[in-house]
């Protein structure tokens, strides 16, 4: 193990002063891969060769099992090899010589990251000799924090580019869909590859991300977003993606809608400009979760002769799996989300737009239209339509078992279910009473007014006082 240099003094993770793992810098390399922290192999100085074989190697980032996966499976997807990239970690030692780190939301973790970055990070020169214009691949939440200052929404940004900002830099508000220039440092967000062992379904988005890295490097992704048209089209397009924004508290109140065509023309129409339009019979309208948009579409055009396609329903047919919801932020497991933000990261030609809901709602709305079109057809590999065409059985399931559910769901949403509110109140009162008895039971058991809803109180009692441990199941 290497001793920690003097720059480590004062860091909350200083520990016994041993186990420093320096960055591996390749001058003139266009890419910096930023990982979380060293593992046992990196700390001890041994390189994993596969098949349980190792060789001695000076301590360096990503030389263990994760590094092996990076070298053999993921760098090639981007047309790169190890000599093309610099490698760094957010934390350059193993906390207490173990793999567990506190969550990035904890202040001590943020302090350690900031200390480590200030003390040890020196940006390399890029291919042109400049230290600007590099592509940083941030693998995981810790690296994401180190180079963007963001503690939240890692999953939301995965697969997209963010401008570089260290945690101590002044915050900047992202008010538009960001298309970086050649001299901008680009932070590309992806999963830490070790996460794939924990969550195998993350492999698909991870692979797409590394494919996309090649496009970022050759300047073909993301595409610049042209100005939108802020008035309704004269005639409804015969093939278009459609998306609506409506009031959360009253879904029938349309705020605006957007339309996007295959030639990337985008209309964003505000509520006051909405008027009835003529539609050519047989026209195709693509939506993401059509049951939410169809009632508003019916207010704009006659939907009787319109062919409807749905990216959420189609994606569920093609890529069903454990679904990661926005509410879970990925913690519940699963990476096969059907949300448009996720699909945009998989198929879209434009950078993220879903963070603009409040700061730039018109760009957000237009992004939804354009993103939906990319996801359906104009995006990577022909989008979902391309995938359905290449897999006739999935196409059959989509057209005969999934898409026909849309009108059934629409009708269900419109009809609703009558509620006996008096009976609900009685049930609720009984339940609240029951919950109170659980709380009293807990307080009687512990002998102090424990807060049964407090994770800190619970953890103290269950793990410190009672010493409970999860055992392995008998096999």
């Amino acid at each position: 193990m290497l001793p920690k240099p003097s720059g480590c003094q004062g860091c909350p993770f200083y520990g016994d002063g041993k186990g420093f793992v320096p960055d591996t810098i390749q001058e003139r390399a266009p890419v910096v891969i930023y990982a979380q922290g060293p593992g046992e192999d990196e700390e001890a100085g041994r390189r994993y060769l596969g098949s349980e074989q190792y060789e001695a190697h000076p301590p360096a980032p990503l030389i263990g099992r994760t590094g092996r996966v990076l070298d053999t499976q993921f760098l090639p997807l981007a047309g790169l090899n190890r000599e093309d990239v610099s490698l760094a970690n957010s934390i350059r030692c193993r906390l207490n010589h173990k793999n567990h780190l506190p969550p990035i939301t904890q202040v001590v973790m943020q302090q350690a990251v900031e200390h480590c970055t200030r003390a040890h990070w020196r940006p390399p020169e890029g291919p042109g000799g400049s230290r600007a214009g590099l592509v940083y691949v941030t693998m995981g939440e810790y690296a994401f924090y180190t180079l963007t200052g963001m503690k939240h929404d890692f999953n939301g940004w995965r697969g997209y580019l963010v401008p570089k900002r260290h945690p101590w830099d002044p915050p900047h508000l992202m008010t538009d869909i960001w298309t970086p220039g050649a001299s901008d440092d680009k932070i590309f967000v992806t999963y830490h590859l070790a996460y794939l062992w924990k969550e195998p379904e993350a492999e698909l988005p991870a692979r797409r991300d590394w494919n996309k890295l090649a496009l970022i490097l050759d300047g073909t992704w993301p595409r610049k977003v042209d100005p939108f048209i802020y008035e309704p089209p004269a005639l409804w397009p015969t093939y278009a993606a459609f998306d609506t924004e409506f009031a959360r508290e009253d879904k029938a109140y349309l705020t605006r809608y957007s339309l996007a065509t295959r030639d990337r023309k985008v209309w964003v129409v505000e509520r006051e400009d909405v008027r009835r339009l003529t539609v050519t019979p047989g026209s195709t309208v693509i939506m993401h979760n059509a049951p939410a948009d169809i009632p508003h579409l019916a207010g704009v055009v006659d939907i009787a002769d319109v062919v409807i396609e749905d990216t959420m329903y189609a994606h569920a047919v093609l890529w069903t799996g454990k679904v990661e919801t926005d509410e879970d932020k990925g913690r519940g497991g699963g990476a096969m989300s059907h949300k448009l933000n996720f699909l945009g990261s998989m198929y879209g030609w434009i950078n993220r737009w879903k963070h603009l809901a409040k700061v730039n709602p018109k760009r957000y709305s237009g992004g939804d239209g354009l993103g939906t079109m990319d996801v359906w057809e104009t995006g990577f590999n022909g989008g979902l339509l391309g995938e359905l065409t290449r897999d006739p059985q999935s196409h059959y399931v989509y057209t005969t078992l999934q898409k026909p559910l849309i009108p059934i769901v629409v009708r269900n949403q419109q009809t609703g279910i009558p509620v006996n509110t008096e009976e609900v109140k009685r049930a609720l009162a009984g339940l609240v009473q029951q919950q109170k008895s659980h709380i009293l039971r807990a307080q009687a058991y512990t002998g102090w007014p424990i807060n049964l809803r407090s994770p800190r109180h619970l953890a103290h009692w269950l793990y410190d006082v009672e010493g409970l441990k999860v055992k392995r199941r008998a096999r």
């Binding site: 949403q413 009976e423 609900v424």
Partner: protein, 344 residues
């Protein structure tokens, strides 16, 4: 000062794992009870505010299962429905017809694999889980055969019917080691199995006897697992795919689950589409994985006529829901359901 990091999660999964391994701390149980009622409390609080609720339903979960939220009415537990069955009701002028498929996942497994004893049990009876309990798990009637009478199973005097704890364990006994598990020893990891009062050796021996009596099921499972690992995908008999990721064990588990659960989802979708196609006035009210409620129109008939109209609609829907499908090669299976009606 060293920073301590330790796994001290208090989330529901961790606490459930602790409970399932036999920890009976009152605090643990009280917290779990509180957690389990939190979702219901939030849903009820929302439902109490408006005379009509609009649950959000989506057929996009894993293996095309449905989700319902705001409120998650199908997630309300059985005890709640026993005490508060009238919190929702049909719109005036409509009535509700509901069905719950009986043991549909077990039937699908048998239909894919074709073990004779299970095929016969589904056709001739008696109840498959009671049979499993009597013939294999407790060996009250080791020679019992499909088509036998319930008395032939020598059930104990304190047998409490379908809700009997031992029958529930027999269901786990079938699904755990055989249908979804990796072998007889899987019985030992099943929650609550220690409550049966059987020692480990006996449990494993009986699970093995049960498995040995189902050679086709074992072979089909092996073939399916091998195909999942080889092709990295699984498909239902209707063609719905699930791409598989991770190590071989994960692919086997996810692939087999998809073949069964994805088939239930496909059947549900097919039935709903067909019902609405053949009875345009019918509409979906709620559904869960293996059952649904549809609303049907009432006409101006008198009470006596109304009953026969409902009978006719129910018969029509039953023909759709319980129709026979060819699933495995040359193996057909129908999926009978328990039916219910609710008038406005």
């Amino acid at each position: 000062m060293p920073v301590r990091v330790s796994p001290r999660s208090t989330n529901q999964d961790r606490l459930t794992a602790l409970r399932d391994q036999g920890e009976d701390s009152d605090l643990l149980l009280a917290r779990l009870a509180l957690l389990e009622s939190e979702g219901l409390r939030k849903d009820l609080a929302k439902m109490g505010k408006k005379p009509i609720c609009y649950p959000e339903i989506l057929p996009t979960q894993a293996s095309l299962r449905w989700s319902t939220k705001n409120p998650n009415i199908p997630g309300f537990d059985r005890v709640f429905w026993r005490d508060h069955s009238t919190i929702i009701y049909p719109h005036p002028g409509t009535w509700w017809l509901s069905w719950d498929w009986k043991a549909i996942e077990g039937r699908l497994f048998t239909a894919y694999s074709g073990d004779e004893e299970d095929l016969q049990l589904y056709k001739l009876g008696p109840d498959i889980h009671t049979f499993t309990c009597a013939k294999y798990l407790f060996e009250w009637a080791p020679e019992a055969h499909p088509g036998c009478q319930i008395d032939d199973l020598h059930l104990p005097e304190d047998w409490q019917g379908p809700e009997d704890e031992r029958r529930v364990r027999a269901k786990n006994f079938r699904y755990g080691p055989f249908q979804y598990g990796t072998g007889a020893r899987a019985i030992l990891g099943m929650p609550g199995i220690e409550k049966l009062g059987l020692d480990r050796e006996t449990l494993v021996k009986r699970a093995q006897r049960f498995i040995d009596a189902r050679p086709r099921g074992v072979a089909w499972k092996e073939q399916t697992w091998a195909a999942c690992v080889r092709d990295k995908e699984a498909r239902t008999f209707m063609g719905a795919r699930r791409k598989l990721f991770g190590d071989a064990d994960t692919m086997k588990k996810d692939g087999l689950n998809h073949k069964i659960q994805g088939s239930v989802s496909n059947l549900m979708a097919w039935c709903l589409i067909q019902i609405v196609k053949e009875i345009p006035a019918a509409s979906l009210v709620l559904n869960k994985h293996d059952g649904a409620i549809v609303a049907c129109l009432l006409h101006d008939e008198g009470a006596s006529e109304r009953s026969s109209v409902c009978d006719r609609v129910q018969d029509h829907v039953r023909q759709i829901v319980e129709r026979e499908w060819e699933i495995g090669p040359g193996i057909t299976m129908a999926f009978p359901a328990t039916w219910g009606r609710r008038m406005a």
